[in-house]
């Protein structure tokens, strides 16, 4: 275990100063995520345009550095991505967090991959994986108009 892997500079920076924090007027999809046992909350807002592209995405939330950094990095990467790309990125991220050593997606640049891989430190902290995955499952919910709150504490 190494705390330096978990709390990398990039994570601390995004955790303290999350990008895309807030809400915007003309969103057309949104979903809430809440892990009641630990209290992390996230609300993802996005605008999916007529070409099925995310033209804007923001989030509101409160929680630990990991959940906030994850939401921040996620929203940065998802802006201007089309629906199939969004799906591919989510799957790729969740696979990486669970068991895959690397990201396989070709949609994002090497720099973007490095940024996303900064969240891979949680793999050694099973109790914290749910913090990193909460925004991503919430995004799935928003994209698919799934009713109800997302909770990643129930996952196995």
């Amino acid at each position: 275990m190494d705390l330096k892997d978990l709390y990398q500079q990039l994570i601390l920076d995004h955790g303290k100063n999350p990008r895309n924090l807030g809400k915007f007027e003309n969103f057309n999809k949104d979903a809430k995520g809440h892990n009641p046992l630990c209290g992390d909350k996230v609300h993802v807002y996005l605008k999916l345009d007529e070409n099925k592209k995310i033209s804007d995405i923001k989030f509101e939330g409160e929680g630990c550095a990991i959940s906030m950094a994850s939401a921040s990095i996620m929203t940065e990467l998802m802006k201007n991505k089309e629906e199939p790309e969004v799906k591919e990125l989510i799957d790729d991220f969740l696979k990486m967090i669970k068991d895959s050593p690397e990201l396989s997606s070709k949609i994002i640049s090497e720099d973007e991959k490095t940024k996303l891989m900064s969240l891979s430190g949680v793999k050694k902290y099973p109790m914290r994986v749910k913090c990193a995955t909460l925004p991503w499952h919430t995004l799935v919910s928003a994209m698919t108009d799934k009713p109800g709150e997302v909770n990643t504490e129930k996952e196995d």
């Binding site: 275990m1 709390y7 209290g39 992390d40 909350k41 630990c64 914290r128 913090c131």
Partner: protein, 405 residues
């Protein structure tokens, strides 16, 4: 008390956590177990096991005697009048559910009110909540003040002619407030309101005297008292146990069972349906012996001193904000750190072998009132030392360093 020697009685401290000595500061959640308790479970299963109260063979009689012996130990520990006022349950949660359920069934009707406080653990709120739907009762909350305390006045303010029962914590698991429950009980009784005390944090740390307190019900969690999990105690005045209906039906709690009807057994069997947590009850006797050997007054004194020391060093640390400064404080140190979420604190402390709890500690009503989603909490037990608190402080400084780098 020589704490180093006491620590040696707890085998868990022989282990390393992430290559560090274990600094266990989560006793309000659950305490560690001394070897005598663990051994007692092993010995019972390997040398003395049988079900209790059913058969007449040698082992059954011996097991029944051992089981009933713990009941007497508990009775003496809390100075109850009669061993039949001690009911074993699967936990303090079940003890409170037992009272809420049976008392609600027999005495509550639509429009009646139950008074609890904003300090309560979910286990002293949720069991009462069910009565909102089933009986149409209202739940009122006595206000917690800015120190994390509940005053007698705040209780008095919320008592109405419709208040039928008061359920209140003895010692807050978040702010550490030790409530003036004797005076609160006197106040409630002067208005004919029975009182249930949630003693989960009280019983392991404070000297108890049921006859002096005069409470109607007192719930105890055995695993917080250096005892096994899966076990709780409900103390209830005999008249309540006689008046209230049984909670669960099954073997062992009956008198006569016929097709036309059933009569129920005498106390305490009436409330102990089915095969109970026999090994845990017998081992819990050793927990009480362990506490008695050290002396609860000595434990109280040791923990009071440590709490004071912990408060002092954490107050000196400018980044730490302590939650709650009640008049009379038990061994709970809840805090927040500027710019570091409690879950990040807990993860970073864990790396140093420092075990604390982060979250709402099953007190969402209180956290909402405090305007906090979560807090970090260090809580003490008999095995803790000033060194443990120094390690806590230095690991907290490590959090600050990581987050400000």
């Amino acid at each position: 008390m020589n704490i180093k020697d006491i620590k040696k009685e707890f085998p868990i401290f022989d282990n390393k956590v992430h290559n560090n000595d274990l600094v266990y500061l989560d006793s309000a959640n659950s305490s560690q177990k001394p070897k005598v308790v663990v051994d007692r479970i092993y010995d019972f299963y390997t040398k003395e096991f049988s079900n209790v109260g059913r058969s007449v063979h040698y082992l059954a009689v011996a097991a029944t005697n051992l089981y009933e012996n713990t009941r007497v130990l508990v009775q003496k520990y809390i100075n109850a009048k009669d061993p039949n006022e001690i009911v074993f349950t699967k936990g303090a949660t079940e003890a409170i559910n037992l009272v809420a359920n049976t008392f609600g069934q027999k005495y509550l009707k639509e429009g009646d009110e139950i008074l609890i406080t904003e300090l309560e653990h979910h286990s002293n709120y949720v069991p009462w909540h069910y009565l909102r739907k089933s009986k149409g009762v209202k739940i009122n909350f006595a206000d917690v003040d800015e120190n994390g305390d509940i005053s007698i006045e705040s209780i008095e303010k919320k008592i109405t002619p419709k208040t039928k029962i008061l359920a209140i914590t003895h010692l807050s698991n978040v702010t550490g407030a030790i409530l003036p429950i004797k005076e609160i009980i006197q106040l409630a009784h002067s208005k004919n309101i029975p009182v249930l005390v949630d003693g989960c944090q009280g019983a392991p740390h404070l000297k108890l005297d049921m006859q002096d307190l005069d409470c109607d019900f007192y719930a105890i969690s055995c695993h917080k008292m250096y005892g096994p999990t899966g076990l709780g105690v409900l103390y209830a005045k005999k008249k309540w146990l006689e008046e209230l209906p049984p909670y669960q039906g099954g073997g062992g709690m009956i008198g006569e069972v016929k097709k036309e009807g059933i009569t129920f057994g005498d106390l305490p069997n009436k409330y102990e349906a089915g095969t109970m947590a026999t090994a845990q009850v017998i081992a819990f006797g050793e927990s009480i012996n362990f506490i008695n050997k050290l002396g609860i007054e000595k434990i109280e004194e040791h923990e009071r001193e440590l709490t004071k020391y912990g408060e002092e060093i954490l107050r000196k640390n400018n980044s730490v904000k302590l939650i709650g400064s009640p008049k009379n404080k038990g061994s709970v140190l809840s805090f927040t750190l500027d710019g570091v979420h409690p879950h990040d604190i807990a993860t970073i402390l864990d790396e140093d072998g420092v075990a604390i709890r982060a979250g709402h500690h099953c007190c969402q009503i209180l956290h909402e009132k405090l305007g906090l989603a979560a807090t970090a909490r260090a809580s003490l037990g008999v095995y803790n030392t000033k060194d443990d608190l120094d390690q806590l402080n230095s690991s907290i400084n490590k959090c600050i360093k990581i987050f400000n780098s």
